[in-house]
Amino acid sequence: MAYLELNHLRKVFGVTVAVESFSLDVERGEFVSFLGPSGCGKTTTLRMIAGFEQPTEGTICIDGEDVTNVPPNKRKLGMVFQSYALFPNMTVADNIAFGLRMAKLPGHLIWQRVEEMLALIQMPGYGNRYSHQLSGGQQQRVALARALAIQPRVLLLDEPLSALDAKIRDELRSEIRRIQQELHITTIYVTHDQEEALSLSDRIVVMNAGRIEQVGPPFEIYNRPRTEFVARFVGTLSTLHGTAGADGCVMIGGQPVRLAQPPADKLPGDAVTIALRPETIALDEVAPGHNRLTAQVEGVTFLGAIVRVQLSVNGATFVADALNNPNFSPPRAGETVTVSFSPEAARVVG
């Protein structure tokens, strides 16, 4: 039996189905991210776990207890919000102590715990400050400490880094993972940022239009997407339109491309779409057994660590990423280059 069980959750707002047939088992101490575009139902699912939304159908069990109809204040879950939601009338210490006071813990234990939490978020000495005296990153750390202070059964984070600037976001992301692993706390993290989900999670739940598209570890989600939506949403993806060849290969602009998994249900001449990740395309060398494509360089974008090259084959455009190498001059727009990729790198998506 899993620690957190979501069984056939469904949520309907009026005539809109926000979440449909959502079932998921989360193990104790696991970090699971709900990833998807806006309106895909990830926050609604999180709010159902928190108790702020009542499921139209389905059940939620935590540690064997059915909490579907338990009010939020009795669920013993910690929640961190995008907008921090610190109580402006209270100091940092009072904010962290709030949940402990609600649990009617003795004063000395409350203050001991507050000190521990301040140390955990690396903000000792900030107890007497008010939220308006803190930066966004600091406020979110305090919100995290406040949620963790009550030793919740599950920690819920609703896009906690969205309101922060890039540098702070990166720092806090590492901080969240460190704390989660240190406390071994079961965590559900909602985000629309694939990088966040990929870097933080033990498993990712990719959602679209209220349904689960795929559940799996980040490596699997990125490298073996099961649907076109997952492939497109997670990472950068180029699609090339061609036709099915006679020997199981796909013809792209008159050039044959062999696939590890040829399109079984296509007859020769049928339209086929293949997908390629930019980083699987090599610009400078052709390994034995790899596909070759002669392509026209449309443009080159320097991204610092990466050089992104826009290519086209008979009007079909795609991109290739190469690591920046000071000894390697990237191609120029208008040049003709030969690129290569392994048969495993290309997947049929349509």
């Binding site: 928190a50 108790g51 702020f52 009010p71 939020p72 204040n73 009795k74 669920r75 013993k76 879950l77 910690g78 929640m79 919000f81 907008s83 939601a85 610190l86 109580f87 402006p88 009338n89 209270m90 100091t91 210490a93 009072d94 102590a97 709030f98 949940g99 609600m102 649990a103 004063g107 409350i110 203050w111 507050v114 107890g127 007497n128 008010y130 919100a143 406040r146 949620a147 009550i150 819920l156």
Partner: protein, 290 residues
């Protein structure tokens, strides 16, 4: 060109400000000047002394301040002021207890009802005080309620009437306060931390609405202290300050002017006091634990 326009705008703004200030200050100054001329050919505080001085023991009015049965030997100025202050305080308490949770609930759970609430809360502007008074008297002075038969019942009616009369100010003030904070997220944060509704309202919502509640309290106080219609019909013995002001105005010449200045100063002092107390309370709450 821009500079000239900016100067003209500033000049216009200043003229408006000066006009408004004059509109408010000139009557007060003339009133004050008039109140100092109680004795022919002299400038002095005779009218003030007449209003404020404790009269001879046999002329002292005994007042039972309902509903607490406190017997005070005070001249009418002090007793009526005390009575009205008490009624104002009760009105602030009652309207805060009713309006804040109601407005909070509407914001949180049924935001679509906000326009309806706004409509109902401005009704007291449309209903004349005398209509409200007669409505209350007609409904509650006979069976089955008969509230005017007892001191306590009449006080309840008066405070109830004041609560309705100040509702437009109280509701609007609280509404603006609620719009300024993200109450939904704060409420959810508090609930996720184990707080029940009373704790959320008392420890999260009320403290964060302190300024709004204070503004509402100040307006309530200023209105209740000088209210005449309800007070005069419910307490015809001129127990309330508004009734006393009217009575002095009818029977004296210079004292009403002195009384106006005194009540003006008093209201301002009390307003400042409430503001000070409100700020102090907030600080205490915010530095709860170390």
């Amino acid at each position: 060109m821009i500079g000239k326009r900016s100067f003209a705008t500033q000049l216009f703004a200043w003229l408006i400000l000066i006009f408004c200030a004059a509109y408010l200050i000139v009557p007060l100054v003339t009133q004050f000047d008039y109140s100092l001329r109680a004795r022919r050919g002299e400038i002095g505080f005779t009218a003030y002394a007449n209003v404020l001085s404790i009269p001879e023991p046999d002329k002292v009015l005994q007042v039972q301040t309902a509903p607490f049965k406190i017997t005070l030997n005070l001249p009418r100025f002090y007793s009526s002021l005390l009575f009205s202050c008490l009624m104002a305080a009760l009105t602030i308490l009652v309207s805060t207890i009713i309006i804040v949770p109601t407005a909070y609930w509407v914001h949180l759970r049924v935001p679509k009802l906000r326009p309806v609430m706004e409509f109902f809360t401005v009704l007291p502007f449309a209903i004349p005080g005398i209509v409200l008074t007669f409505g209350l008297l007609r409904t509650y002075s006979g069976p089955p309620f008969s509230m005017t038969n007892t001191e306590l019942g009449t006080v309840v009616l008066l405070v109830g009437g004041y609560t309705i009369a100040v509702m437009p100010y109280t509701y609007r003030s609280v509404d603006v306060g609620l719009r300024a904070i993200d109450i939904r997220t704060l409420t959810e944060a508090a609930r996720s931390l184990g707080a029940g509704w009373p704790a959320i309202i008392l420890q999260v919502i009320f403290p964060n609405l302190r300024v709004a509640i204070l503004s509402a309290a100040l307006l309530t106080f200023a209105i209740a202290i000088g209210e005449y219609t309800l007070a005069n019909f419910l307490f015809p013995d001129e127990r309330a300050f508004g009734s006393y002001l009217a009575s002095v105005g009818n029977n004296k010449i210079f004292e009403p002017a002195a009384l106006t200045i005194i009540s003006f100063v008093l209201v301002w002092v009390l307003v400042l006091l409430i503001q000070r107390v409100g700020r102090g309370t907030g600080q205490t709450q915010m530095t709860g634990m170390r």
